[in-house]
């Protein structure tokens, strides 16, 4: 912890350059606003589901900001704010959660892997991407995200182990928000911390206050630098909290007390950094207003984009199963085309409608 919950510097170490903190703060404001906007879009029925990272914005933004352009990031379903912070269009970011398609952006554009839902499965991919780059002598670092719950999966183990054995330049960032949906950390591990899991792979593990952007930037930059320097994979556990339910479909009151939530709201990463920056004179009302306006702009673009009714192309269903459709898919496409043509032609209600 470099900043205490009230935004006062601690004795733990030097702070990152103030421009980085201001940039990070701006990113968090955008991230928070984006989380709120997406949650609102769920309530309005425009998104199918939204797992908010509200409360985890420091992790989200730091993960994106410590990377160089050629680096890769591997996000989970909860890391949409990190994806946006990395520069991906917010509307494209939300395509999965809107339901138009499984993934909305080109992973090669900003080197952002698709949002991954099956837990921990993206971690070995991250190791593979890093190893390929290393074989070619490229300086790429890969940052792979997962949650506390995901550390229990076999894929977590195998990914860290592969990365360690091949000294692949991967930074594994575990956002320990203390719950996997309803299941508390005590049901995931009996270890003193998740960072301790690095020991079994020969991977250095570090814990960091996940609501302290300054600390995150320092710790993650260090990990990225070590990975880039050929020191192999790094594991970082960030202690944080999701202030909202798991998704809109969840009822968090079934498993968390109001007091617990309130205590974490008091550790809001935005409030803390804002207090510091204002105290330092690095942020004034004018700058804050600009930042808020930028965030509002992102929210508006998100809203407008998501509110636009895109008619997903049914033929896309057949286009991307293989590089060339199989004869079977060609037939099935013809059937669907025929159905759609008949539906379109039918002035009268379809049989199905008639049957209702």
């Amino acid at each position: 912890m470099l900043l205490d919950p009230d935004g006062r510097p601690t004795a733990a170490g030097a702070l990152p350059p103030v421009e980085d903190l201001v940039r990070g703060y701006a990113g968090m404001v955008v991230a928070r606003r984006f989380n709120e906007q997406a949650s609102a879009l769920v309530r309005q029925g425009r998104l199918a589901v939204y797992p908010s990272s509200s409360g985890q914005e420091a992790c989200q933004v730091a993960a994106a900001h410590v990377l160089a352009d050629g680096d890769w990031i591997f996000p989970t379903y909860r890391d949409t704010a990190a994806v946006v912070a990395r520069g991906v269009d917010p509307v494209e970011t939300l395509v999965l959660l809107k339901g138009d398609w499984h993934s909305g952006y080109d992973p090669y554009d900003r080197h952002v892997a698709p949002l991954t839902t099956p837990l921990a499965t993206q971690l070995p991919h991250a190791a593979g991407v890093a190893h390929a780059a290393r074989l070619r002598g490229e300086p790429t670092v890969v940052l792979a995200l997962c949650g506390d719950g995901a550390t229990s999966e076999g894929d977590f183990h195998e990914a860290l182990n592969f990365a360690a054995v091949f000294r692949a330049p991967v930074v594994f960032l575990v956002q320990n928000n203390r719950y996997a949906i309803s299941v508390p950390l005590s049901r995931q591990t009996a270890a003193p911390s998740l960072a301790h899991k690095g020991v079994g792979y020969g991977v250095p593990g570090e814990q960091v206050d996940g609501n302290d952007l300054a600390a995150l930037l320092t710790v993650l930059s260090g990990a990225v630098a070590r990975a880039r320097a050929g020191e192999g994979p790094q594991l970082v556990e960030a202690h944080t909290y999701r202030m909202q339910a798991h998704t809109n479909a969840d009822d968090a009151t079934r498993y968390r007390s109001d007091e617990e939530v309130a205590a974490w709201v008091a550790r809001d990463p935005l409030v803390r950094l804002e207090a510091y920056l204002r105290a330092e004179g690095a942020l004034d009302d004018a700058r804050a207003a600009t930042i808020a306006a930028d965030a509002e702009d992102v929210a508006r673009r998100t809203r407008d984009g998501i509110n636009e009714d895109v008619e997903p192309d049914p033929e896309d269903l057949f286009r991307h199963v293989y590089s060339r459709p199989t004869p079977q898919l060609v037939e099935q496409l013809a059937m669907v085309r025929d159905e759609l043509a008949r539906d379109a032609l039918a002035a009268a209600p379809t049989r199905q409608e008639a049957g209702r």
Binding site: L96, W101, A150, A180, L317, V321, E339, Q352, A354, G355
Partner: protein
């Protein structure tokens, strides 16, 4: 194991429950009656499961009987193997169909084979509950129809109820079974209400005729049964009489019941939500083709999911067997009058 007509409601006003409630009741009754029954999985405790199927069970029976595990499906399945080897009857929940895949090795190489490996000395009385299939607007990995993987694996029973009454009765039977059972719970039917049968319900391995009909037989299971029934309803208005068979149990499969039904009409359409290619519907079509060949006036048709990854929510209606698609297939059955 002959297809029988589902028992009609008894004279006492029957109780109405949703499928989720019926499953919850089956778990509760099993926990109450048999101290070796355990319910475990991700979020089955305090939360009561993401579909609330295990709601209240931890509160009623305590942490030792219904409990959350670490987030690791192979671990859950493997841990359940050990529990079952040592006197327990675990009922495990896989949170969604596609999230059972990490447990595939445990299911195929151990759960399915332990009895066989040990010549019957080690039984594994365990149930794998799988919220299953689509139609709920879920994003990728939340809507897979994975029955073919299990049905192709000798040693597993595979059951897919389509009504709350069946869900209750078949789950009770599955929990009581000395064999492992993959219990597929159609997600889109979780909230569908139905009457609980008062009388005995036909057991695992028995198909039932859900609707009588004379012109052609629709063979369905799980989430496709209501669609098949709706198609039959529409067809009836067009003057075509469709029989609807609900398989209920994929393994064991009710050859006698299905054949009797198909032979009574001479035409068959298999309806299933899973991708068709090498899917369970292929087995049904192949068996009907092999066994009822001389009764068939037309080739057996399949109405199944397309051979594509399950579509995103906005396009899933194209994946699901629809009333129209079923009726199109029926139209294709080479009617003399056509």
């Amino acid at each position: 194991m002959t297809a029988t007509t589902a028992p009609t409601a008894a004279t006492v006003a029957p109780e109405t429950l949703s499928t989720a409630q019926a499953i919850n009741r089956a778990l509760r009754d099993a926990l109450a009656e048999d101290p070796t029954v355990l319910v475990l999985g991700e979020d089955v405790g305090a939360l009561g499961g993401v579909f609330r199927v295990t709601d209240g069970l931890t509160a009623e029976f305590g942490e030792d009987r219904c409990f959350d595990t670490p987030l690791a499906e192979a671990g859950i399945a493997g841990f359940a193997v050990g529990l079952a080897m040592n006197g327990m009857r675990p009922v495990i929940e896989m949170q969604f169909d596609a999230f059972a895949y990490p447990a595939f090795e445990q299911i195929v190489s151990h759960i399915a084979k332990m009895r066989n490996r040990t010549r019957g000395r080690v039984e594994l009385p365990l149930v794998i509950r799988v919220p299953y299939a689509g139609g709920i607007g879920g994003v990728e990995h939340h809507c897979d129809s994975s029955e073919a993987y299990y049905a192709h694996t000798p040693g597993l029973h595979v059951v897919a109820p389509s009504t709350p009454a069946d869900a209750y009765a078949l789950l009770r039977e599955a929990i009581a079974s000395p064999d492992p059972v993959v219990f597929l719970e159609p997600k889109k039917l979780y909230w569908a209400k139905g009457e609980m049968d008062r009388g005995p319900v036909p057991g695992i391995g028995t198909a039932v005729v859900r609707r009588q009909g004379t012109d052609a037989t629709l063979i369905a299971y799980g989430p496709s049964v209501p669609v098949a029934l709706e198609a039959a309803e529409v067809a009836a208005r067009d003057g075509r009489s469709l029989q609807v068979v609900d398989l209920r149990s994929l393994v064991p499969y009710d050859d006698a019941g299905v054949c009797a039904a198909v032979e009574s009409t001479g035409r068959a359409v298999v309806v299933a939500e899973a991708s068709g290619f090498a899917g369970f519907a292929a087995e049904v079509a192949a068996r009907v083709g092999e066994r009822c060949f001389h009764s068939l006036a037309a080739p057996v048709r399949r109405v199944t999911g397309l051979d594509i990854p399950y579509p995103p929510p906005k396009l899933e209606h194209l994946q699901l067997p629809s009333v129209d698609r079923i009726l199109d297939a029926v139209d294709d059955l080479q009617w003399e009058d056509a």
